[in-house]
Symmetry: C2
Subunit: 202 residues, 2 copies
């Protein structure tokens, strides 16, 4: 099953057009947000006919879900030898994505349509948060081996707390510098919880 035989006659669907509409979708999502985004606008920006979009997706939600699902960023697991530096790198990486217009609008979309379109949260969790959660666990395990933190510290819990703080700072401290600073302070407090981690992150 799941054969992708090309035996059917006729002109095949254009991979370029498909790519163009996905790209235009992500751009517009970041620029105007989910609700203000029209199919007409996506088609126009992609240089594609509206029918070409409707042939692939039944709704805007489907299109957007597929577009954000296909986003793949490289996840680098830092290994500088010091927990402080490793975490700094992770924060920087997260900031770059989360503070972007696309990152903001994606989160807003997830919250506002949480009840009507739970698949958005699901995709974001699976494709974005989950891999970073595991990368974070690796970093913390290494720090445990170096006795920088206690062995009983739950990486998942710390990651969730850190993500929440980032999200909060994203909303109420939109300024990138104060964002980074307040995330660092909160994380410093967090890690003191079950560790000998008391270095100044500043």
């Amino acid at each position: 099953m799941n054969d992708i035989h090309k035996k059917s006659p006729g002109r095949p669907r254009s991979a370029q057009s498909h790519q163009a509409m996905l790209q235009a979708t992500l751009e517009l999502l970041g620029e105007v947000g989910f609700d203000a985004m029209s199919i007409d606008a996506i088609a126009a920006r992609a240089g594609v006919g509206k029918a070409t979009i409707y042939r692939r997706y039944a709704s805007k939600a489907e299109l957007v879900a597929d577009a954000i699902e296909r986003v793949r960023e490289e996840i680098v697991i830092p290994d500088t030898g010091s927990l402080k530096s490793d975490i700094d790198a992770l924060i920087q990486s997260a900031a770059q994505i989360t503070l972007s217009p696309l990152g903001r609008q994606t989160v807003a979309m997830i919250i506002s349509s949480a009840s009507s379109n739970p698949e958005f949260a699901e995709i974001y969790w699976t494709k974005y948060l989950q891999p970073r959660r595991q990368a974070f666990a690796v970093v913390l395990e290494r720090a445990k081996a170096r006795h920088e933190i206690g062995a009983d510290l739950d990486p998942g819990l710390v990651f969730d707390a850190m993500s929440g703080i980032m999200l909060y700072a994203l909303i109420f401290q939109p300024n990138p510098e104060s964002w980074t600073e307040s995330v660092r302070r909160a994380l410093n407090l967090l890690l003191k919880g079950a560790s000998s981690f008391d270095a100044e992150l500043h």
Copy 2:
């Protein structure tokens, strides 16, 4: 200045109609969200003419901003004699508001229109978060006096971290029970940071 003389002739504006449109605005905001909310729908639900709304507000954003600004919940500062119980009460109170449809949609609105309508975040910060931040500081000061936590713990920082965690859990753990539980666990970790607070919150 700022006189509110009633010397002008003619029928005065109806306070009842005004109240009805504000109420309908909050209801619809919680039910369908900011973008899907039409002025027609607000007027219909409030039993008010559309012109009556436009006479008071120039835009939907103005109306919504005024509506959420006028929301006033009683803030009770718990004083049970134990930090654990006090915090439990605060979490319960926050959950009741934040987990409600109105709370969710308000946050979503703030994020998605952060650039176009920064006044929403401003109002939410000033009228909702700020007072709770101060109430939290009172609770923590009492705990310091009882030597339940270290005197060097920054209440504002802890509050911000806690708020962020609540927000995160709101999105990715919409279930009220798991929400409360994960908030408790994170907070427990947080308070271990600079205190002798190691009681099981569960």
